[in-house]
């Protein structure tokens, strides 16, 4: 599209594009974002919504004497239990806690 041919390094071109697109996103209204989330079948009003996957909760390690998953579940506080219930599948006793509904791109 430019009238004269110019050559940019790919990383320079990418940086320019990403910064311009970032400005677009900064101008997006809250309503626009929530509408798109709903179109994608997400409900951002829910704490465990897939829209917030990998943003709001993480998993840390602590060392305690535990003899199996049931004992571990028993050691959880009420708030931890509710978060766990929201983030694990209904049938999934073996579902890893860190399993994301929206996995990160690794390719």
């Amino acid at each position: 599209m430019p009238t004269s041919m110019t050559l940019s390094w790919p990383e320079t071109a990418l940086t320019r594009i990403l910064e311009a697109l970032e400005q677009e996103l900064l101008q997006a209204s809250d309503e626009e974002i929530m509408t798109v989330a709903k179109e994608l079948g997400m409900n951002p009003a829910m704490k465990g919504s897939a829209a917030f996957a990998d943003i709001r909760y993480g998993v840390a390690l602590r060392r305690t004497v535990i003899y199996g998953i049931e004992a571990w579940r028993g050691a959880l506080t009420e708030s931890e239990k509710s978060v766990l219930a929201a983030r694990t599948r209904p049938s999934g006793g073996s579902t890893p806690l860190r399993q994301s509904k929206c996995p990160q791109r690794k390719d």
């Binding site: 990418l14 910064e19 974002i33 943003i55 709001r56 766990l84 791109r105």
Partner: protein, 195 residues
């Protein structure tokens, strides 16, 4: 039987959740920042994820190592921190290519950086990543010729006015295309899979 002490998983609030609890950001802001983080993670190596970029930006703000200037919204500020983290990453990669992984930071000064022979591999990796991501951005707007013209103009560093002039796009068509692009970016950033 000896008593073992296995590691126990503990759910913790992330820096982003902490910022939400402190009312530094709203839930819509979190989603906006997630989309921006996914955008900025483009071109970074696969081991640097968008969530790392986002949480690190929140951490820098929460621990006070980055201060929000007056008159700049927290979302714009965090987006800037993410950009700066990206630059930091590429500077670190460049340093490591010259001095090896264990090179002390004290040995790295601007003068030395300019004179030492360079390993071209990290630059090559960065360029290849960038080429792949440029192709991915094009794919995102493949059904929208005006959006592709805008992207091509942005890649050349042209202003909106010059893009419109060079491609012969009216202001109305340009603004409509920008809206479609924003929508596509929002969908892309919130969806589970990236193009």
């Amino acid at each position: 039987m000896p008593q073992t002490q296995p590691l126990d998983l503990h759910i913790v609030a992330t820096p982003a959740e902490t910022a939400l609890a402190l009312k530094l950001v709203s839930e819509a802001d979190l989603l906006r920042l997630k989309i921006i983080a996914r955008l900025h993670a483009r071109g970074l190596p696969a081991d640097v994820g968008w969530a790392d970029l986002l949480q690190e930006a929140f951490t820098r703000v929460l621990d006070g190592s980055r201060h929000q200037p007056e008159g700049v919204s927290i979302v714009a500020f965090l987006a800037g921190v993410m950009r700066s983290l990206k630059s930091e990453h590429w500077r670190r990669v460049a340093r490591e290519s010259r001095y090896g992984q264990a090179a002390p930071y004290s040995q790295v000064d601007e003068g030395t950086l300019d004179t030492e022979p360079r390993d071209p591999a990290p630059d090559l990796e960065r360029s290849l990543n960038a080429l792949q991501e440029l192709a991915a951005v094009d794919r995102l707007f493949v059904d929208d010729p005006i959006a592709l013209q805008i992207i091509a103009g942005l890649a050349e560093g042209l202003s909106a006015e010059r893009i419109r002039g060079a491609a012969g796009i009216s202001k109305i068509d340009y603004d409509s295309a920008r809206k479609r692009m924003r929508r596509a970016l929002l969908r892309e950033g919130l969806a589970c899979r990236l193009a």
